[in-house]
């Protein structure tokens, strides 16, 4: 543990929850010290930011890549500002531009945090003013939903999932023919554009099934009904309908 005294246990993790992303953490550091956002002392804030990341690492909290991207930006600006200022220098200008971009991103982000807060307050009140529902009048009717595009694709996804379940059940039987397996793979590819080869292993099926599956795949490749793609030697094989 570094020289920072970090309270252990839940208290600390709760605190981390409020820093959902790197911009939240950065804003917190700035606001905590009542710094003018246009005049961020980059060197100081960078050190504090990096110390937070270290603490997160010590606590075995996985640091999302986004945090590292901002860290890199901060270090870049900090080191650039250590250079002697030379009017018209390209490097100086570039560093200044990065700093301004970061400030703008922070300001933009903060506005939306405020907007979210406003929505939260409105919702808090509005959720408690709802009229009662009309269910007593609707009992006789079929359950209807007003569908949008999202419902449509969800419905399709559900069916694809349902199909997976059926296949698991079929595979619990002992015997399997090549024709059956061909049919299964064809149906699967009808609802999904692509199936990973590992999918068949996840089903914990017998060696016989796997062997037949493999033969069926070879047969389908020969018939040019499917394409098998493997990007790398150890990558999963992707089965695509032609």
């Amino acid at each position: 543990m570094p020289d920072l005294a970090v309270p252990e246990g839940e208290g600390y993790t709760v605190q981390l929850d409020s820093f959902e992303g790197p911009l939240d953490l950065l804003l917190h550091l700035i606001r905590q010290q009542e710094i003018d956002i246009y005049q961020i002392p980059i060197a100081q804030i960078t050190d504090q930011y990096l110390r937070y990341l270290e603490m997160m690492k010590d606590l075995n909290i996985t640091i999302a890549g986004d945090f590292l991207v901002i860290a890199a930006t901060l270090i870049h600006i900090k080191s650039g500002m250590l250079l002697p200022a030379q009017p018209g220098s390209e490097l100086n200008e570039e560093v200044e531009r990065s700093r301004q971009e970061l400030v703008e991103q922070l300001l933009e982000h903060e506005k939306f945090k405020q907007a979210a807060q406003m929505l939260f307050e409105r919702e808090t009140v509005e959720l408690c003013v709802w009229p009662p529902d009309e269910s007593e009048f609707q009992a006789e009717e079929e359950e209807l939903i007003s569908a949008n595009v999202f419902d449509l694709v969800s419905a399709f996804h559900r069916m694809a999932e349902r199909y997976k379940d059926q296949i698991v059940m079929e595979m619990e039987g002992e015997t399997v023919s090549l024709a059956e397996k061909l049919g299964e793979i064809r149906r699967l590819l009808k609802v999904q554009k692509e199936v990973l080869f590992s999918f068949f292993f996840q089903l914990k099926i017998s060696r016989l099934h796997l062997a037949v599956t493999f033969m069926a795949l070879l047969e389908l490749t020969r018939l040019r009904e499917v394409r098998l793609i493997q990007k790398d030697l150890f990558e999963d094989i992707r089965i695509l309908a032609c």
């Binding site: 009048f137 359950e143 209807l144 007003s146 449509l152 694709v153 996804h157 009808k190």
Partner: protein, 180 residues
């Protein structure tokens, strides 16, 4: 008529309550007031409210109090509920529509195969609502009719053209991002 604060607060709670409000539930909201006192307030509130309100009344139902419309308005209410936009689909119809949208042109046997359910009724509903149309016959045994979506479908779902439908891959991406 009801200047006091408490009766209005109770009325507001009665208004949002989805199930009959019991005295013990009410007492949890007002732990400093005894059940007897709350019952007294509630009863006088109910009799006052019911005497001047002609649209809605408070009834004692299932051991609690509930605000409901007066029965003689029910005919008008039914008329209102029926007139609301019928842009609504049953879940079964939605599933059939999803298969047609993503697999068109597609035949009934193929639809039933994917949905794992037999039945033709939802096709008729969708044809009636002009969300799907026939697209000739497939050149296979039995020459089944093929179906596809209509322009009405595109308008109904606020699309410009079919390519705007999210793909299954995009949907899975949305799912994984939400839980990730």
């Amino acid at each position: 008529m009801l200047e006091e604060a408490l009766p209005n607060q109770i009325l507001a709670i009665l208004f949002v309550a989805k199930e009959p409000l019991t005295l013990s539930e009410l007492q949890e909201v007002y732990p400093d007031t005894s059940v007897e006192e709350l019952k007294g307030k509630l009863d006088s509130l109910v009799s006052k409210f019911n005497s001047f309100q002609q649209a809605v009344e408070i009834r004692q139902i299932g051991g609690g109090y509930r605000m409901t419309t007066r029965p003689h308005h029910h005919e008008n209410i039914r008329t209102y509920l029926k007139t609301r936009p019928s842009a609504q689909l049953s879940l079964a119809a939605l599933e059939t529509l999803a298969v047609i949208a993503y697999k068109q042109p597609v035949t009934l046997p193929e639809i039933m195969d994917i949905r794992g359910i037999k039945g033709t009724s939802t096709i008729h509903t969708l044809l009636e609502k002009k969300l799907i149309e026939t697209r000739g016959r497939k050149k296979v045994v039995g020459r089944p009719i093929m179906y596809g979506t209509t322009k009405q479908f595109i308008v109904h779902f606020g699309l410009n053209d079919l390519s705007e439908l999210p793909t299954l891959e995009e949907f899975q991406e949305i799912l994984s991002q939400s839980t990730g």
